[in-house]
């Protein structure tokens, strides 16, 4: 019964956000009106101009003679229609932004529901437990949690092993094992639920600054600031708007000179038709939607800047294990040397791996046991030696003082020599044999004696070669980092199709590779999970930390992958590129639209002069031309909202091919589409007698 309640309590943010989507439209409509507030509207220069234009045409609707006596039929109706269309244009642009933001807000409310105040059992130094509110916990406090409890804040496990349900943040219902002392499984997130056993946790986040708090702020857009690309585009749009404003301001003098006076509402209509309202209205929606697409991939980006940087990435630095090859390398074979038997090496390999909890270590134990190896000493008097990137070996110190080690061949050679032993040519032969098959050779030794080599089979992920090929076509270079020797690394690199590789790499090599690439003016992306990855994650332009990683890695990175799948980096680069392509495509479309709108309004504006040859659309009247162009201008914004939110379909092409394709589809399409639609609208307006 209790179990059933717990599973029903589990929240999947993706499912939750679908439920909230029902109210998304209503909330977006409400927010679209709230964004009419001048303080908010002023942040978008193009639409702010349209909003001011709307207010002026409204004044002229109320008093058509405000700026001078006007003659003609239905002046008030025409002014009223212009006002209504301009108002709808502003509203549609606000709606696009509000709708894009709404998705993030829905996700934030799902997350907020997990972040309720809980009672935490705080541990005092003397071991006594005091119940306190989770909001009062500070960094450095220690808490005790047991099965059924909600973990009160982010922290590191200092004692115990337990299963934790992290579905509230990852959407993944399978529980995750958390234990102390492990580099990647010891960090826990506040708001998640412990479902078995108990843990003692040291709090690592100040109140209100935990992982879920940061996620809420990010998906809600509270910390959203314009990205460099958005700023550059905003400047371009402001300059274009300024130029067209000068054109419109000087036009009445010209019109007066040719004896074809132009009314203020028509001038405003012409200004709005000329300024790039389409991209002005959709610009922020495109950026927010890009963040949202990354979030839908179960990746949390700390800023839009990070997502955008993904689109400009030139080099991907990838770990071999887990990214290029399947994470769990399995022991395939024991290769005995120095006249040792297969039984002997199996036994030594088993003893070396009894404290090794990695998938590789467990597979060695399984293979050795299958070969009949047994443990004939008291493990409680033995000591496990953990693998470290520095020593590149792990093992066991036996009760009789013997030291058993397994690890990289070079490291084991050094270990043996330091104990008076020697390496043999047989070791190099076995090493070469495993390496040439793309496997990882692990040498096994007891004190000064080498027993043989364990062949760890590495399997390249299916389809990874094609993905690297796509990246190459996009101009992205891939660099594989591996702790394996040069021969193994070259075999895997060739099989996977990476551009470059670094064998026998240490964590320090990662940061060195990144710095070298950056020195050549390239943007670098990488993934990491360990504390020793943190400096490289901070150095990279795009650093993606795994959610299973340490707190230090997550804080250094600018993205956190909740599914802890390093291959996702390739998808994130695709999303970043898609964001930039979408922005470029819609900007091209918006500016191309101006040509048709110009040809629609200018000839009829100077009706009394001989400019009718420019009226290539044969629009029926000035008023009809103005209304048709404005209606098109307004309707194109909601028509393009789905494209802005979904993004232009991404194809792995070179920059030149993309440019050609975009100019053809969105440039030429942007010129032709308004001609057809404006003419159609003119016919409709003339038929119903609106103008």
């Amino acid at each position: 019964m209790r179990q059933r309640n717990r599973s029903s309590d589990r929240k999947n943010p993706r499912k939750q956000s679908k439920v909230n989507n029902k109210g998304l439209y209503a909330r977006a409509v409400k927010d679209a009106f709230l964004k009419l507030n001048p303080k908010v509207a002023i942040r978008n220069p193009v639409m702010f101009l349209v909003w001011i234009g709307t207010l002026i045409t409204l004044a002229v609707t109320i008093d058509p003679n405000l700026f001078g006596r006007v003659t003609g039929k239905n002046v008030q109706l025409f002014n009223g229609l212009v006002t209504a269309i301009l108002f709808l244009t502003v509203l549609f642009a606000n709606f696009a932004e509000a709708f894009a933001e709404g998705r993030g807000k829905a996700q934030a409310s799902a997350l907020r529901s997990t972040k309720s105040e809980t009672i935490a059992k705080q541990l005092a130094p003397d071991g006594s437990i005091t119940e306190v509110s989770s909001t009062t916990l500070k960094r450095g406090d220690t808490v005790y949690v047991t099965a059924g409890d909600i973990i009160p804040a982010d922290g590191e496990v200092t004692m115990g092993v337990a299963s934790v349900d992290e579905s509230a943040i990852t959407g993944e219902s399978a529980p995750v094992l958390k234990e102390s002392g492990s580099d990647i499984a010891s960090s826990v997130t506040g708001g998640t639920r412990i479902i078995s056993d108990e843990l003692i946790i040291r709090i690592t986040a100040e109140p209100g600054k935990g992982f879920i708090d940061r996620m809420i702020a990010l998906v809600e857009g509270a910390e959203r600031s314009k990205t460099p690309n958005e700023i550059a585009l905003t400047v371009l749009l402001a300059v274009l708007t300024l130029v067209f404003l000068f054109v419109i301001v000087t036009l009445p003098a010209l019109a007066y000179y040719v004896n074809s006076p132009v009314s203020v509402p028509v001038l405003i209509a012409l200004l709005v038709a000329l300024i790039p309202t389409t991209i002005g209205g959709l610009l922020s929606a495109i950026g927010i939607a890009g963040m949202d697409r990354v979030a839908q991939f179960n990746v949390i980006a700390t800023s839009g800047r990070a997502v955008e940087a993904c689109g400009d990435v030139n080099t991907l630095v990838l770990d071999k294990t887990g990214t290029i090859t399947l994470g769990n390398r399995l022991a395939e074979e024991f290769i005995p040397i120095n006249n040792h038997t297969i039984q002997e090496i199996a036994t030594v390999a088993l003893w070396a791996s009894i404290f090794d909890d990695t998938p590789e270590g467990k597979s060695i134990v399984r293979l050795a046991e299958r070969l009949g190896a047994i443990i004939d000493f008291d493990t409680s008097y033995s000591q496990g030696v953990e693998f470290s990137a520095k020593t590149r070996m792990s093992g066991t110190n036996l009760p009789d003082g013997s030291q058993i080690r397994k690890g990289a061949v070079g490291a084991i050679k050094g270990f043996v020599r330091s104990r008076g032993g020697y390496d043999s040519p047989e070791l190099d032969t076995a090493n070469m044999r495993v390496s040439e098959q793309g496997g990882t050779p692990l040498a096994v030794a007891v004190d000064g004696e080498i027993y043989g080599v364990i062949y760890l089979k590495d399997i390249v992920k299916p389809g990874i070669r094609e993905r690297f090929e796509q990246l190459r076509r996009m101009g992205v270079r891939t660099v594989m980092l591996t702790g394996d020797n040069r021969i193994t690394a070259s075999v895997i690199a060739r099989e996977a199709g990476v551009d470059d590789f670094i064998a026998e790499a240490t964590p320090e090599d990662k940061i060195e590779v990144i710095q070298q690439e950056q020195a050549q003016g390239k943007l670098v992306a990488m993934t990491g999970d360990g504390t020793n990855d943190a400096p490289a994650l901070a150095q990279a332009n795009v650093g993606v930390a795994m959610n299973t990683g340490t707190q230090a890695a997550k804080e250094a990175a600018n993205m956190v992958d909740l599914d802890s799948d390093p291959t996702k980096l390739i998808d994130i680069v695709g999303i970043g590129k898609q964001l930039l392509i979408t922005r470029g495509a819609l900007t091209t479309f918006s500016i191309a639209n101006d040509i048709a709108k110009y040809f629609a309004i200018i000839p009829v504006l100077f009706a009394s002069t001989n400019l009718q040859s420019l009226n290539i659309m044969r629009l029926s009247s000035t008023n009809s031309a103005v209304l048709s162009a404005l209606i098109y201008n307004a309707l194109i914004i909601p028509a393009l909202i789905p494209l802005a939110l979904k993004g232009v379909k991404f194809k792995p092409l070179t920059a030149n091919q993309l440019l050609q394709q975009n100019i053809l589809i969105y440039g030429l399409g942007g010129v032709i589409a308004p001609f057809i639609v404006i003419k159609f609208l003119d016919v409709i307006i003339t038929i119903i007698g609106l103008a």
Binding site: L49, I52, F67, G68, S225, T234, L242
Partner: protein, 66 residues
Amino acid sequence: MSYFSRKKLPIIIFFITCFNIVIVPVVYATTGKLEPRHTYALTGLGIITLGLVIYLFDVVFRPDRY
């Protein structure tokens, strides 16, 4: 003082009105044919346009503020 620094809009409207009163005679003298109320409206429109030009220049030179 803090009230005025918080509520900028009334102050802006006040200054636009004052500026309008100063400019109106110039506009009236230039055109000559307009009624006084049209002159006020046109001057207001000119001031709003000038304000928009200043605003757009500000966006161009300090885009990160927007």
